[in-house]
């Protein structure tokens, strides 16, 4: 094995030291992929901004908060799409969504190239609600066409905005999901549940409750995500490399397996009041210790408790 160049060694150091959560979308893309390999498509210099935000006197971003392009991951050609969670909460607007739809349709047409979606979203951008909602529907359709054509679409979740609303539905269509402690996946957000049903139903200010119900560790333990990683870009990169390896067909058998897995989950845990009850039922001896567990210890526990379900999502 040849010695790594100083540039690559330097990148490795940077990746290990960089927090996925703290990084911008651009930084995640730059550091996730092989050094200097990222080619952005329809980048900010094209100035394809939202045609709707001005109605609300809101500032635009030149890339509309969605960065798409191609690059290399350990020398293999990959496509990538990353949401900037700090711009409009990473929410789906018309242009933002269309960029991802375009990438997915490209993946459908060139099925041997995997696509990584770096989710960081609160869901639909309300100022463009109808366009955002439609974008999500089009994305899901394009994603399934891509998977049926044999492509892998892998979601990485660990940003500030989480993966909420329509983003959670898109995530549910991916071939596989990688999640960190900071990642959250849900349809309705904590505040919305509290507003509609009261704090007794869900206290959105109880952070521990939010993370038990929607957070990365819970999703890994219940089978809503395939891999749990530490909050470093290096960890996400290692997971990404692992998951892109084998192409997997998507067919009726996968759907049937997923139907079974979701039925089983409902049968087993449908009466559980809290995540800790679910974890206890799964064989976790000390559920209360889970939130504080360090990543390595948690990963070992999760691997013991539950195999990732690659053929049933």
């Amino acid at each position: 094995m040849s010695a790594r160049s100083p540039v690559e060694r330097g990148a490795g150091q940077q990746r290990k030291a960089a927090s996925w959560y703290e990084a911008s979308a651009r930084e995640r893309v730059r550091l996730l992929l092989d050094v200097h390999s990222f080619q952005e498509l329809l980048g900010p210099e094209e100035r394809q901004i939202s045609p709707h935000l001005h109605i609300f006197n809101l500032p635009e971003q030149f890339d509309d908060g969605m960065i798409v392009g191609k690059g290399l991951l350990v020398g293999r050609k990959v496509f990538i799409a990353a949401q900037e969670g700090r711009f409009m909460g990473g929410a789906f607007g018309e242009v933002h969504g269309a960029k991802l739809t375009g990438m997915l349709r490209a993946v459908r047409d060139a099925a041997s190239i995997p696509l990584f979606i770096l989710f960081d979203t609160g869901g639909v951008r309300l100022q463009e609600a109808n366009a955002g909602e439609l974008a999500i529907a089009e994305i899901m359709r394009a994603l399934m066409e891509a998977r049926i054509a044999g492509a892998r679409v892998i979601g990485l979740i660990g940003g500030r905005a989480g993966c909420y609303g329509g983003g959670g539905l898109i995530a549910g269509c991916c071939s596989a999901l990688v999640v960190s402690e900071q990642g959250r996946i849900s349809v309705s957000g904590p505040e919305v549940i509290e507003t509609n049903l009261g704090a007794e139903e869900f206290d959105s200010k109880d952070r521990a409750l939010v993370w038990r119900t929607m957070g990365g560790k819970h999703r890994r333990l219940i089978g809503g995500a395939d891999m749990f990683v530490d909050d470093t870009i290096e960890s996400f990169r290692i997971a990404a490399v692992k998951l892109m390896r084998s192409p997997r067909a998507f067919d009726a058998d996968v759907l049937k397996s997923e139907q079974s897995r979701l039925r089983q989950r409902l049968d087993q845990f449908g009466s559980c009041a809290d995540a800790r009850d679910i974890w206890r039922m799964e064989g976790v001896e000390d559920p209360n210790a889970v939130p504080e567990m360090a990543p390595d210890a948690f990963i070992a526990l999760a691997d013991k408790i539950r195999e990732p379900c690659h053929d049933a999502r």
């Binding site: 911008s24 651009r26 200097h36 980048g43 900010p44 210099e45 100035r47 001005h54 006197n57 809101l58 500032p59 635009e60 971003q61 030149f62 900037e84 700090r86 711009f87």
Partner: protein
């Protein structure tokens, strides 16, 4: 929203050969700066779109300081601002120029 435009004549062109760079995020208290090397060497332009209206004079000062300090000749800087403080603006402008002056890979 308010748009501002500044044009300065400068002594030196910005170093390096990179054609484009981008820095920052559009959010409350933050801004993005897109910098493109598309002007004659002695010119620098800034196009600013800002959510915080009425601060033209402040922008003028920040921009003037920036141009004086960095001599960003040949650069056009396009800014989407979410209401950042002057010191944040100054930092982003400096970051943008540093980024575009990096040697091309």
């Amino acid at each position: 929203m308010e748009t501002l435009h500044f044009h300065h004549k400068v002594k030196h062109r910005a170093a390096g050969t990179k054609a484009m760079a981008i820095v920052g995020v559009v959010a409350s208290g933050n801004l993005e700066v897109l910098v493109e090397r598309i002007l004659p060497n002695s010119d620098c332009e800034l196009d600013i779109k800002t959510a915080a209206e009425g601060f033209g004079a402040v922008w003028q000062l920040v921009v003037a300081d920036f141009v004086e300090l960095r001599s960003p000749g040949g650069l056009k800087l396009s800014i989407n601002d979410g209401g950042a403080r002057p010191d944040t603006v100054a930092i982003r402008l400096a970051q943008a120029v540093r980024l575009i002056e990096d040697v091309d890979p």
